[in-house]
């Protein structure tokens, strides 16, 4: 049995997932120290399932704590920023275009030194080891405890970054160091941004992981602990201490992956209805279609992609006006249980419509019994129109697909959707997020620039695929379960020898 947990800003959800599906679940308010909320939710879910800690094989946690810390500019450390690139890149120094308040949080301890690679692997300049050591001594004097190191073209060759880290450690032995080459992906500035943010989170990462471990200890759970990362796969908890930034976009991915598991359908549209908005996305072969845009966190462009989801203003707390003809986009949000009519409040919400119409059972139906049937019908039609139009917008193929409805607001839906072949509201749809965490796989990735010709194409692709599979196995996947799920080849123009940027991703199951 596995335990999936989703630590959100408002609620902490826990589910127990076994071979027969969801055995128990719970939703608890997120607590300030996080640990208590996790302990409470897991304990209640285990009680509901009637299964004790001894039967558990692993805990998987999805969390928004790191994202929120960056957005709210709290728990961030000042960072020593080192870029190995001179004489190149000085026209756009690190932290350019960052919001001022975020720069204030991480400081402006920037050093550009000689180093970096060309696209073909030749060094731009030899690594200026003296300058690296000097920068490190300056940071030590300024009391910095963490550093971010980025070199030009390091996704192809991380050697200079590794050597620079060695030099920094020699000068300042306990410096926590983030290397851009371990955060992948081409694009110097977004990769550097992610590396700096990662370094700034290094203290919080240690504290959060300690809180997770404390929660497991309190529960008597002596099992492996994994954390959800951006692409919906899992990372080992000791890796989160070093690379918290990899958790940034895990939320939407988990909820869509959870929907796949709960509904048992792999090609579908998904609508995740929350309190204020609905996220609409598309699943292909069980995975969310990715956005072409990089994730912007707290005003900074990172190098992470997230699922292509469209957020529309329809949620359980959406305010209903004009006799039901207008819904949202404003919402009573987390105050639903105080302000919605069916909870004794004074605001007509989308939830009240579902309760009055008799297809949802929350609050007190008697409190909404005098709503006119015409208002209920009009609001129901409007909700349906919002979902229909936007499902159509997000769909990339002509044929109609099933629509999976998940999230706390899934109770709003009892209607058909003309743009979907069927509407599926799977059981436990309210905790799809935590389910997505519980069932996640582990991944391995490879990215490089290679010259691809007709003659070597198969060999080059095979080698990259094997390496990606190897990386997945090193991340904890069982060898037999690993498969390649993504091959992206983008040609680089204006260079001889047909070079392409090649990215291969493989995923596999954990041995539990």
């Amino acid at each position: 049995m596995k335990i999936g947990v989703d630590v959100g800003g408002t609620n902490t959800d826990a589910v127990i997932v076994g071979p027969q599906g969801v055995a128990g679940w719970n939703k608890t308010p997120t607590t300030r120290d996080v640990t208590a909320g996790i302990v409470g939710a897991i304990r209640a879910a285990m009680t509901e399932a009637g299964i004790g800690p001894a039967a558990m094989d692993g805990v998987m946690i999805g969390t928004t704590q790191f994202t929120n810390a960056v957005i709210e500019r709290r728990s961030l450390l000042p960072v020593g920023v080192l870029r190995l690139a001179l004489p190149a890149t000085s026209a756009v120094p690190p932290l350019t275009d960052w919001p001022e308040d975020l720069v204030a949080a991480v400081g402006r301890h920037v050093a550009l030194v000689g180093g970096g690679y060309e696209f073909d692997g030749r060094p731009i300049a030899p690594l200026d080891e003296k300058a690296v050591a000097e920068a490190a001594r300056g940071w030590a004097k300024a009391g910095l405890r963490t550093a971010a190191i980025t070199s030009v073209f390091s996704p192809m060759n991380g050697a200079m970054e590794a050597r620079a880290a060695e030099i920094v450690r020699k000068e300042v032995p306990d410096m926590a160091i983030s290397l851009s080459s371990e955060l992948g992906q081409f694009g110097l500035l977004p990769r550097e941004n992610s590396t700096i943010i990662n370094a700034a989170l290094s203290d919080l990462a240690v504290r959060v992981v300690a809180a997770f471990r404390a929660a497991l200890h309190d529960l008597g759970l002596d099992v492996p602990l994994f954390i959800s990362q951006n692409d919906g796969t899992l990372m080992r908890v000791e890796d989160v201490e070093r690379y918290p930034v990899l958790t940034f976009a895990s939320g939407p991915t988990n909820s869509m992956r959870g929907a796949v598991h709960l509904a048992g359908i792999e090609d579908a549209m998904v609508v995740d209805i929350g309190g204020t908005t609905s996220d609409i996305g598309m699943l292909r072969k069980g995975f969310p279609r990715q956005s072409t845009h990089f994730v912007d966190v707290g005003g900074v462009k990172t190098n992470f992609r997230m699922p292509d989801v469209l957020a529309v203003g329809l949620g359980g707390g959406s305010v209903v006006r004009e006799d039901g003809r207008r819904i949202g986009p404003d919402s009573v949000g987390f105050e639903l249980t105080e302000r919605a009519l069916c909870f004794g409040g004074d605001t007509l919400t989308a939830t009240d419509i579902a309760v009055a119409g008799g297809w949802a059972e929350v609050g007190d139906r008697a409190l909404v019994s005098d709503l006119p049937a015409a208002t209920i019908a009009a609001a129901r039609a409007e909700m349906r129109r919002i979902v229909e139009t936007n499902v159509e917008r997000m769909k990339t193929e002509a044929r109609d697909l099933p629509l999976l409805v998940v999230g706390g607001g899934a109770i709003l839906v009892d209607w058909d959707v003309a743009t979907a072949s069927e509407v599926v509201r799977p059981p436990h749809s309210g905790v799809a997020n935590a389910v997505g965490a519980a069932i996640a796989q582990v991944a391995g990735e490879v990215e490089r620039v290679v010259a691809i010709t007709e003659a070597n194409r198969t060999a080059v692709l095979d080698e990259a695929k094997q390496e990606a599979c190897g990386n997945a196995i090193r991340a904890g996947a069982t060898a037999g379960s690993v498969e390649v799920i993504e091959v992206e080849q983008v040609p680089i123009s204006y260079l001889p020898g047909n070079p392409s940027r090649l990215r291969v991703k493989a995923v596999g199951n954990l041995p539990i």
Partner: protein, 360 residues
């Protein structure tokens, strides 16, 4: 006119629009320019019609692989060095710089040079959009000498190229660029003020800025950005812009051949069956067809925009499933002469179709 911070973002968006799917992402160039403005430097945009006849204008630009630029950002000294090469060769100082290519990243390099050297930037260019090679310039078509050309990299290495033949210049400079690590910065086609007026596509920097402004603000003003773009472009020397297709990207074939990104994107219509639109590109979009119909053809600009935001989508960021609007823009008269069409018309890209300017 002095360029302000917000103008830079608008200009970059407009430059991507005029890039016709290519030209390289102006984002990094925009950051370089904004960095200069924040440091207190000024960028003055001047109308070509007000230039003194004996002004000496030295265009500046980058060449090579935009993908490499995303990693190896310039030091900023390269284009300055390239311009100095031309000054040394001519024994005269530049009085202004200008773009060779308004589409894509090359709209931003002269702005950076202008800020660094305190030179005004002429509101004009030699392509009116983006094209892949250095001889594809109205400057060449109108008989401006293409060299001396200065070319430089971030290591401080530089070369001066002298030839009468724009094709030879392209060929030699392309080879040097590879040795420079895939990107290099250059200055060529040095011109007098009178030559700029005769041989350039005028007012294209302000055109890019206005296009970007419309795209950024139309929605908040509750206007349809596509309608506004059409109405605005109709008032410029381009004279005509039209939505030619909208739908979803359903197929994408992209590969490098001889250093160019070649391929095609297929867009299925929004609703119902209908004929899909196929856009063929070589770095930039060359031709849009639907069934047997020709929708638009190079040198007219074919540009793919996000259907919601109207933000331009370059061929490097095209993806399966994107919902897009395709717009075509007729190029100004100077780009439609028989000599111009020989340089960058359909035949220059191996296409058999006969060019007819986009009609409204």
């Amino acid at each position: 006119m002095n360029l302000e911070l917000q103008d830079v973002d608008d200009l970059c968006t407009g430059a991507a629009f005029l890039g016709a799917g290519g030209g390289g992402d102006p984002h990094i160039g925009g950051l370089m320019v904004k960095q200069q403005l924040r440091a207190g430097r000024r960028i003055e945009i001047v109308d070509p019609d007000t230039l003194a006849d004996d002004a000496l204008v030295m265009p500046t630009a980058m060449m090579g692989a935009p993908t490499v630029l995303l990693e190896k950002i310039p030091s900023g000294e390269e284009p300055l060095r390239a311009l100095r090469c031309v000054e040394e060769a001519l024994g005269r100082r530049a009085t202004a710089t200008m773009p060779t290519e308004v589409g894509g990243i090359n709209s931003t390099i002269p702005l950076y040079v202008g800020a660094r050297l305190g030179l005004p930037v002429v509101d004009a260019d030699g392509q009116g959009r983006a094209f892949p090679e250095l001889q594809m310039e109205t400057f060449a078509i109108e008989g401006v000498a293409c060299t001396p050309m200065g070319i430089a990299d971030e290591k401080g290495d530089y070369a001066t190229i002298c030839t009468d033949d724009p094709h030879r210049m392209e060929w030699i400079a392309r080879g040097i660029t590879i040795r420079c690590g895939g990107v290099a910065y250059f200055s060529n086609y040095p011109m007098s003020g009178a030559e700029v007026r005769r041989a350039s596509v005028k007012h294209t920097l302000t055109l890019a800025r206005r296009i970007g402004h419309i795209i950024r603000t139309a929605r908040s003003r509750r206007q349809d950005p596509f309608e506004e773009l059409e109405a605005f472009i109709a008032t410029t020397s381009y004279g005509a812009a039209r939505r030619i297709f909208s739908g979803k990207v359903v197929d994408l074939d992209r590969q490098t051949l001889e250093g160019f990104t070649r391929g095609a994107v297929t867009i299925a219509p929004d609703r119902g069956p209908g004929r899909p639109c196929v856009i063929t590109f070589q770095n930039e979009n060359l031709v849009a067809r639907a069934g047997g119909d020709l929708l638009a053809l190079v040198p007219d600009i074919i540009t793919v925009l996000d259907v919601e935001t109207a933000v331009p989508i370059t061929n490097e960021t095209l993806r399966y499933g994107q919902r897009v609007m395709v717009m075509a823009v007729r190029v100004p008269e100077i780009m439609r002469s028989p000599a111009a069409l020989r340089q960058f018309g359909p035949a220059a890209f191996g296409l058999d179709e006969i060019y007819e300017p986009l009609a409204l």
